[in-house]
Symmetry: C2
Subunit: 234 residues, 2 copies
Amino acid sequence: MINYPQSSRIFLAIDCIIFGFDGKDLKLLLIKRNFEPERGKWSLMGGFLEPSEDLEVGAARILHDLTGLKNVYFEQLAVFGKTDRDPGERTVSIVFFALIKIDEHDSESVRSHNASWIVLDNRPSLIFDHNEMVLKAIEHLRYKAALHPIGFELLQERFTIPQLQKLYEAIYGIPLDRRNFSRKLLSTGLLIDTGFKNSNSTTKKAALYKLDIEKYTEQFHSFWNFMPDSMKQN
Amino acid sequence: MINYPQSSRIFLAIDCIIFGFDGKDLKLLLIKRNFEPERGKWSLMGGFLEPSEDLEVGAARILHDLTGLKNVYFEQLAVFGKTDRDPGERTVSIVFFALIKIDEHDSESVRSHNASWIVLDNRPSLIFDHNEMVLKAIEHLRYKAALHPIGFELLQERFTIPQLQKLYEAIYGIPLDRRNFSRKLLSTGLLIDTGFKNSNSTTKKAALYKLDIEKYTEQFHSFWNFMPDSMKQN
DNA sequence: GCAAAAGTGTTCACATTACACCCATGT
DNA sequence: ACATGGGTGTAATGTGAACACTTTTGC
């Protein structure tokens, strides 16, 4: 029999950073806590890992519980484990990074958790080390969206190039050239023209594209660069 | 008082993937276990997180214990937490990714832990999910070395451009063009010519450079591309 | 002198940039 | 007709890839 030191058992939490995009602003799904600890303050959605569940199962459970969605894009972001990060008991938190299609979530479950979509730039201060977690998630979003086509996870299945451009402008906080952006995207060969047009527009209706899932999967590990070169200096 | 569910306390381990480079091959520092569980088999170096220590402190402790080195480059890689990953007790492992300058380690401490430097491509099968951890670490090394100047962490303070090229060739497993590589590196402005020459060489002695730490720190977040474009297709 | 490795130069192809211009739509 | 936003074209510039050639060193 093996001697596992009893003292090493530690509380393991999961916290989720959930990004959405409404066509104009990047948003975070945050909860105003109506439970202890830190009742009344804002925080990320989280919970404890159950002993019987794998990490990803736990994250999916928490995400589904809040948004009503399955098949959400998420991945591990980092582990936060400073000894004093939770003033109650020592708790190590595994932080997940999630992107959801904002129109598809279940707003009833969001309301019942006392959660709201908050524009990223106007977010309130959060409890514990959740502010740091969000900063890390923003950095990761910028890093990853430049190299991988994860931006698509924030849009509906069919989207227009101008919508995608607004998303990238929101992620990097800079304006992009319409014409160059369009060509850059189309040249990847990842977009399939659905033949439909965006009927919401009041002016010229933009073409609706969808992602070529097959190529997307094939090329997932290639390192693109959707980020403009002008950002590479910093 | 807050009700933290007692059932959520879980064993938290730390495992370290330690890369080194001997001028020719990428190597891993692995231990042949002379303790339970899985005595006699190969594994990564690890240990339990102590309740009083931060995650990074724990990782630094384990790395120092094995190599005798402080100030090792390391970062979180991922958390492995499948319910059945450790057949003994449920254990969640936080995996760290470390790069060390292979000539500077304390080979006495390594020997006393029954550890060895193993050429990456000849590594034995490891216990538990440690093989997966290594695969993830290799992917991370490739990903990161393409975009950040972390390769330098594997070389001595003073190095030649051909040495650096051999390192990148080992990381990506492909030959690189000498002339283009050299120009690409020098054009970053990150290398300072020390004025010394590599005296080991039996032919023309290459110039010894060192990293411009200031620029390195400044530009750490810019996304370079040390990887040849030819690899971007897959 | 010669082999082996280091260092420099040049050309070509292609991607990025910064523009101007045209098209579709609702009022 | 015109304002608004979508779509295409193009010339100048910069970068990467594929080369040839020269220099240094030990034997």
